[in-house]
């Protein structure tokens, strides 16, 4: 979990950036989960499996956690800086490069979702968050953050019902 946690901590400012942009009435009811305890997998969380041909089922499970290349960490740092300077287009461009390098990293998609939200592209913010959820199996904190972002995106688009449903999802995790 070490590497993943490292990346998430690195990414956190971006996520918080999104929260400050949310109008007060859409602020998540609970405070955003703290990185340290929440990053660790819940003890009862099922271990996600990697699809393997049946014949090889007996072999030991391959390493689940993808290694994070330094390249990705560099790009995320660049993206964070661009985002902090309000240059969301540039931040998105850096994150897209990062995603091309490590498309299976759920936090990258989550960050892209945040940047899309910052850009005001709420439709894509939701889609990116969904992609992050798909990859974030077993990482409840990240899943919850994604649902919170979906909730805010839907609310921004005037979809109160959808926002409510997303909140229900976030709370159900």
């Amino acid at each position: 979990m070490g590497l993943n946690a490292r990346l998430l901590v690195l990414l956190l400012p971006l996520a918080l950036g999104a929260c400050t942009l949310m109008p007060p009435e859409h602020q998540p009811t609970e405070p955003a989960p703290e990185p340290e305890p929440a990053e660790a997998p819940e003890p009862d969380a099922p271990e996600p499996e990697v699809d393997e041909p049946p014949e090889e089922a007996a072999e030991p499970e391959p390493e689940r956690e993808p290694a994070i290349p330094d390249a990705v960490i560099e790009l995320v740092a660049d993206a964070r800086e661009a985002s902090q300077n309000g240059n969301y287009d540039q931040a998105a461009a850096y994150l897209e490069r990062a995603v091309r390098i490590s498309p299976d990293l759920a936090p990258l998609w989550q960050n892209l979702a945040v940047v899309r939200f910052q850009q005001g592209d709420y439709g894509q913010a939701e889609q990116m968050a969904r992609r992050s959820i798909r990859l974030a199996d077993g990482d409840r904190a990240l899943q919850r953050r994604n649902w919170q972002l979906i909730e805010a995106s839907r609310a921004e688009q005037g979809d109160e019902e959808g926002a409510h449903e997303a909140r229900r999802q976030a709370e159900g995790i």
Partner: protein, 779 residues
């Protein structure tokens, strides 16, 4: 020149000649008259000059700068852990025109020692971020780039990029290409050489140089023919404004006036910069090569800043007569004149004797065609043009000097071309046509397009415009429609394979058949897809309803026909390769459909961002159904109709795909993907004749050949929540157990497991399909 001389007296008028008595009065009148005439001439001249001014400004500031948009490939990202081979890196370096040297330490050069490269990148500005020039040490091991570090300090480098290769420009037919350079990009020695040879007094004259004319006249008289022109750079520039080689007196007069005006209105540096970009340096086919920037690229395949002294001198030598001193056609003559330029440079102290001598010892340093990228990938450029037409006017594209940053990956494109060449060569004279589209799985970027067997020829673009029946390439939509109803279907559900006859669109009886002509009673769903069985697919389509199938097809990004017929589920509808690439991108990205893109961004001539086409995605299919479908498509490759792929790429465990064959073997398809790269291949004859090949035997080999030349990430997907692997009895679709006869391990939705369980001890029946089941169960 004569016009220049004849004008002089008119301007200057008369100096006082003294005449006595009556004569003086007459003289006074004559003088007065002449003064009047002179004034009128000056006035007329001024008016004339004024009338030329707009034209001059237009030429200098307006239309003359019609610069076609330059089109770039994507920049190659280098980082430790990247799936890349030395051969692929070399392809990219060659695409960029990097020189192979012994050290790889000069900008734009590389060296290789086994699996270790030294290279010096050029640095560039890109909408995805700026990249500085770097000197890198790149080492490959275990099928990937294993080490990336600074060449001098040995410090690890996290991420570096090669600059994007120029892959073409967007011009109107017969429009001149342009590659503008700023004055500060031009080597000082080149400018000095140009002035020494062409216009020594450039910084002192006001547009015309009489000493220059005199010197030229003397030289010409001595030689008995025209060996020197007396024109200043300013005059030469004006001459270039007009396409006519018209040499009438009036034209010369106009040019002289314009040269004076140009000097009046513009700074020397502006004129010089214009000249450097305007000078005619040769011809490439029907296109003129103008400007030193383009000349450097055309003759030496390098940016102007990187030219050696000898190369600079050669360009200057060509100014006098690009045809006469064409170094490719008249190397001796060009070399002599280059050496003359170098001698003049040394005499004037621009370079010293030693430099001159060593430059003279250099060969001409030409490349075969520095603009080989022009028109190199016509099918991809076609796609780019269509994309841009949505947002840009054609005039802007061909005149505003825009930079188009595309998604093309040269290594993928070149592998595709090589694969098409190699496989079509097997057919001899009666080779079918082929088309191919390669796409990044995760973001829908189009990284390669082959539009036909003759892929350098900008003709009919089959990848985009040929619509052909897709055969079994449609089947994933049928099986997806089933898997989306987990209460009715799972991967192990058994489907009927009994012969069926239904009504076709004309009300006639239609009896679909399996390709092998035989029928089993029942087959598991995943096997019906992986073996591409037609009869169970028709049964399934009938029981699902065509509209459900069509909805899945649309969700994947497929175009749905206006009327649906039963044959839809067997791929009777016609689609382009590009459309199929979109459908399979959605499949490969587990239901996240990303609209295919060929352009990442457009910047203006100063590098300012005009538009960005960013990654977008839409969850078109839920993760669970997508995952189950993908499992079946992996079986296609591991044991189904595409199992022959193993012969091409070895380990196929990280690949998935689908074959397609149409009636009478007119069209053969293969759509396949790894974790990061997807290619769709089609082959067939333009006149729709049969070629006798299936997707497996005709299209798959091209795919296999392409991927065998590429590094890619294997497919590895997380099992979605709520899905577990269970043992299912292949013959009945009931639950079974590990070790039981006929048990197959399949991913299933935990809430939708089969209710019944078979007895474990069952022995396989002694029937005709024994061999079939043996293969299915891997016995």
């Amino acid at each position: 020149m004569s016009a220049n001389k004849s004008r002089k007296p008119r301007r200057k008028g008369q100096t006082g000649a003294r005449q006595p008595g009556l004569l003086r009065r007459w003289a006074g009148r004559v003088l007065g008259l002449m003064l009047t005439l002179a004034l009128i001439s000056v006035g007329l001249l001024a008016l004339y000059a004024k009338s030329l001014e707009p034209e001059l400004r237009e030429h200098f500031e307006g239309g003359r700068w019609a610069v076609p948009a330059r089109v770039y490939a994507r920049p190659l990202e280098l980082f430790a852990g990247k799936a890349l081979s030395p051969a692929e890196l070399q392809v990219e370096l060659e695409e960029l025109g990097y020189r192979r040297t012994s050290s790889g330490r000069e900008s734009g050069s590389w060296s290789r020692n086994g699996a270790e490269f030294h290279l010096s990148t050029r640095g560039f500005n890109h909408p995805d971020g700026e990249e500085l020039p770097r000197q890198l040490r790149v080492v490959f091991a275990n099928g990937q780039l294993s080490t990336l570090e600074g060449l001098r300090n040995g410090e690890p480098v996290g991420l570096a990029r090669l600059e994007p290769a120029v892959i073409g420009s967007l011009h109107a037919p017969h429009q001149e290409d342009r590659l503008l350079v700023r004055l500060d990009q031009v080597p000082e020695s080149l400018i000095a050489a140009l002035l020494v040879v062409e216009d020594r007094n450039f910084h002192d004259h006001r547009g015309l140089s009489f000493t220059g004319i005199a010197r030229a006249a003397v030289a010409n008289i001595r030689a008995g023919r025209v060996v020197q022109g007396g024109s200043t750079l300013t005059q030469q520039l004006v001459k270039n404004f007009y396409l006519t080689a018209d040499q009438t007196l009036q034209r010369k007069f106009t040019e002289a006036v314009m040269a004076l005006l140009l000097e009046h209105y513009y700074e020397k540096d502006e004129i010089l910069e214009a000249y450097l970009n305007e000078v005619f340096l040769g011809q490439r086919g029907g296109r003129a090569i103008h400007g030193f920037g383009l000349g450097a690229e055309f003759y030496f395949g390098r940016p102007l800043e990187e030219l050696s002294l000898a190369q600079q001198a050669l360009l200057v030598a060509m100014v006098r007569g690009p045809s006469r001193y064409n170094p490719r056609r008249n190397p001796e003559r060009a070399r002599d004149r280059r050496d003359l330029v170098l001698t003049l440079m040394a005499r004037d102290g621009i370079i010293d004797e030693t430099e001159a001598r060593s430059a003279m010892a250099e060969d001409l340093g030409l490349v075969t065609d520095g603009q080989r990228h022009q028109g190199r990938y016509p099918a991809f450029m076609d796609l780019v043009r269509r994309h841009l037409q949505r947002d840009y006017r054609r005039e802007d594209l061909i005149s505003d000097g825009l930079h188009i940053h595309t998604t093309l990956a040269p290594r993928v494109q070149r592998a595709a071309e090589a694969a098409v060449d190699a496989r079509l060569a097997q057919f001899g004279d009666d080779a079918p046509q082929a088309a191919l589209v390669s796409v990044n799985v995760e973001d829908g970027e189009v990284v390669g397009v082959v539009g036909g067997a003759d892929y350098r020829y900008a003709g009919f673009n089959r990848a985009l415009d040929a619509r052909r029946p897709i055969g079994s390439l449609v089947k994933p939509a049928v099986y997806l429609a089933a898997l989306r109803e987990p209460s009715r279907y799972g991967l192990g559900s058994v489907l009927s394979d009994e012969p069926v006859t239904i009504q076709d669109e004309h009300g006639d009886p239609w009896t679909p058949r399996n390709y092998d002509g035989s029928n089993r009673d029942q087959v598991p769903l995943w096997l019906a897809l992986s073996d591409s069985l037609n009869v169970p697919t028709v049964h399934l389509g009938q029981s699902l309803g065509l509209r459900r199938v069509a909805r899945s097809w649309a969700d994947l990004g497929g175009r749905v026909p206006n009327s649906l017929y039963p044959s839809f589920v067997l791929g009777a509808t016609e689609h382009s390769v590009l459309e199929m690439a979109q459908v399979y991108q959605t499949v490969a990205a587990e239901g996240f459909r990303s609209p295919l893109r060929s352009v990442r961004a457009v910047t203006d001539s100063d590098g300012e961002l005009l538009s960005r086409y960013s990654l977008s995605t839409e969850q078109a299919v839920d993760p669970v159904s997508s995952y189950l479908l993908q499992h079946a498509l992996r079986q296609v490759v591991s044991q189904g109709t595409a199992r022959g792929l193993q012969g091409w790429v070895g380990d196929t465990s990280g690949l998935a795909g689908k074959t397609g064959t149409t009636d009478d073997y007119r069209d053969a398809w293969f759509a396949g993907y790894s974790g990061d790269l997807l290619s769709v291949v089609w082959i067939g004859h333009d006149d729709n004749r049969s070629h006798g090949l299936t997707g497996s035997s005709g299209a798959l080999p091209i795919w296999g050949e392409q991927f065998s030349r590429l590094s890619y990430r294997p497919l590895r997907r997380q099992t979605p929540g709520g899905v577990e692997a269970v043992w299912i009895d292949a013959e009945t679709g009931k639950r079974s157990d590990e070790g039981c006869e006929g048990a197959v391990r399949l991913p299933y939705i935990a809430d939708h497991l089969p209710d019944e369980t078979v007895d474990c001890a069952g022995e396989p029946g002694e029937d005709d399909s024994r061999g079939f089941w043996d293969r299915v169960l891997g016995r």
